[in-house]
């Protein structure tokens, strides 16, 4: 039994607009694209309004008058859309860059670099701990990780006496990433098929009632 809910009809028609790309570029698909663009921008603005209300409540209630400074800086940041006066936005952006970079630098150092190196070293010890499948796994990890890092850091290698061994390492590194990307693509198929099921379910079950 076909649905009578207007929202289901709207989502079904928009799904058809989107899937019409499989047929080729067409006006229906364009309607879908610009509906997407419009709702994204609209949602950002609505979210922005309510977020502003929430974030500057202490200023409006007089609890924290110093928030006038980020309010002014925030308004200055809007000038980035105006080419002639885009320089006005450089000050608030500088504050954001400073704070964001400082925070992420310390985290990257501690987690991504030192954390991973520590993990590789501890896994080197685990090579001798059964079961066999884990032992082989840790051995692969401990050998593959430095080679893959070498491949990424020395993508362009200057000619020198070490060129030939470096070339072999980079070839192995290439294959390590082929394995990684192959496994990722295999997983992505499951992810994307689930999303396709979700959208087609809306069309077939909810709209057409089949």
């Amino acid at each position: 039994m076909i649905s009578t809910d207007p929202w289901i009809w709207l989502s079904a028609l928009l799904t058809i607009c989107s899937y019409s790309l499989l047929y080729g570029d067409n006006p229906l698909f364009r309607i879908g694209v610009y509906t997407y663009a419009g709702t994204v921008i609209g949602h950002s603005v609505v979210t922005g309004y309510f977020t502003l209300k929430s974030r500057f409540l202490p200023l409006f209630t007089g609890q924290k008058p110093i928030l006038i400074i980020p309010l002014i800086l925030g308004i200055m940041s809007l000038f980035v859309a105006w080419r002639k006066y885009a320089w006005v936005a450089s000050f608030p952006i500088a504050v954001m860059i400073g704070v964001g970079t400082g925070i992420s630098m310390r985290a990257l150092m501690m987690t991504d670099i030192i954390g991973n190196v520590k993990a590789v070293i501890s896994e080197a010890a685990l090579i001798f701990t059964p079961p066999l499948t884990d032992q082989i796994g840790y051995l692969i990890k401990v050998i593959f990780t430095p080679i893959a890092v070498f491949y990424l850091l020395f993508t362009v290698f200057v000619r020198s006496p070490a060129s030939k061994p470096a070339e072999y390492l980079r070839t192995i590194g290439k294959y390590i990433f082929l394995i990684y990307f192959g496994l990722s693509v295999g997983s992505a198929i499951m992810q994307l098929s689930g999303l396709a099921v979700s959208s087609l379910y809306r069309l077939i079950k909810l709209w057409l009632g089949l």
Partner: protein, 275 residues
């Protein structure tokens, strides 16, 4: 002369796939969902949390990608409601508010759906907090100065749950259902020692599996829709995860057949090229 197999046009492949999805949706078959250790670990960890523990659910990314995690999240919310845990939703991206609302509505745990949870006492939705890493750090340092109200505009002091949450020290577990999980590991688990769970999107699992090795016993991940179907089984429901895996079981057969067909096509043309 060897038989020459013609190249399949993409449109025919798409039509076959569309037919497979349609059949799978209209006539789903009963498929067994075997359990993985990864999902079981997450489930047991949440089961063992003391009653009244505060669990933070949050992160940043887009709704469409996070839909895959919603399968596990919805089942997990039912489990947490059953175990009288308390949840604070911490949206760090523009769409995260909508994602969290979607999960809570679909889980039917609110009292308006007959569930045990009451807004303000058992769960709270915070408003969008812009600034990504800086927002997360500010939230973990001092919740009440990082955010003044909930998503409805109610001051936090008026919400019973938020009177018990002041900083990261009051959080027992962080659940991430968004792609930007590294941010959570870095600032929540690595810097502050709070265990974190990621209902990973399938493609993200391979990318973030090293975090589990870095922090064993502190970082847990499930695998995409498969993890979602497994979690749903543990909680006793059949949702998006189950439906997705149902269709996927058919799709993978078609996928393998197409790859084999492609290779056979290549082999039949090899002789031609040599000639």
């Amino acid at each position: 002369m060897a038989m020459r197999i013609p190249e399949l046009k993409s449109q025919y492949i798409w039509a076959i796939l569309l037919a497979i999805f349609t059949v799978a949706i209209i006539h789903p078959i009963e498929i067994p969902i075997p359990m993985s250790k990864a999902t079981l670990d997450v489930y047991n960890m949440i089961e063992n949390l003391p009653e009244g523990s505060i669990v933070a659910v949050g992160g940043a990314y887009v709704f469409a990608f996070d839909l895959e995690s919603s399968a596990s999240m919805i089942a997990c919310l039912k489990q947490m409601a059953r175990n009288h845990l308390r949840v604070v939703f911490v949206p760090l991206s523009v769409e995260a508010v909508q994602m969290h609302k979607y999960c809570i509505d679909m889980a039917r745990v609110d009292e308006k759906y007959g569930g045990p949870w009451k807004y303000g006492r058992d769960y709270v939705q915070l408003p969008y907090m812009p600034g990504m890493d800086a927002a997360l750090v500010a939230f973990l340092t001092d919740v009440h100065s990082a955010v003044a109200t909930d998503v409805y505009g109610t001051p936090l002091d008026e919400l019973p749950l938020m009177r018990d949450l002041h900083s990261y020290k009051d959080i027992s577990l962080w659940i991430c259902i968004h792609w930007a999980f590294p941010m959570i590991v870095r600032y929540v688990t690595s810097e502050r020692g709070i265990p974190s769970v990621y209902f990973a999107q399938a493609a993200a699992y391979a990318s973030y599996a090293p975090y589990m090795a870095m922090y064993p016993g502190k970082v847990f991940m499930t695998l995409g829709f498969l993890g979602g179907a497994q979690y749903e089984k543990l909680v006793g429901i059949k949702g998006l995860g189950y439906a997705a895996m149902n269709a996927y079981s058919f799709l993978v057969i078609a996928f393998v057949i197409f790859v084999i067909l492609g290779n056979i096509t290549m082999l039949t043309r090899l002789g031609e090229e040599e000639e």
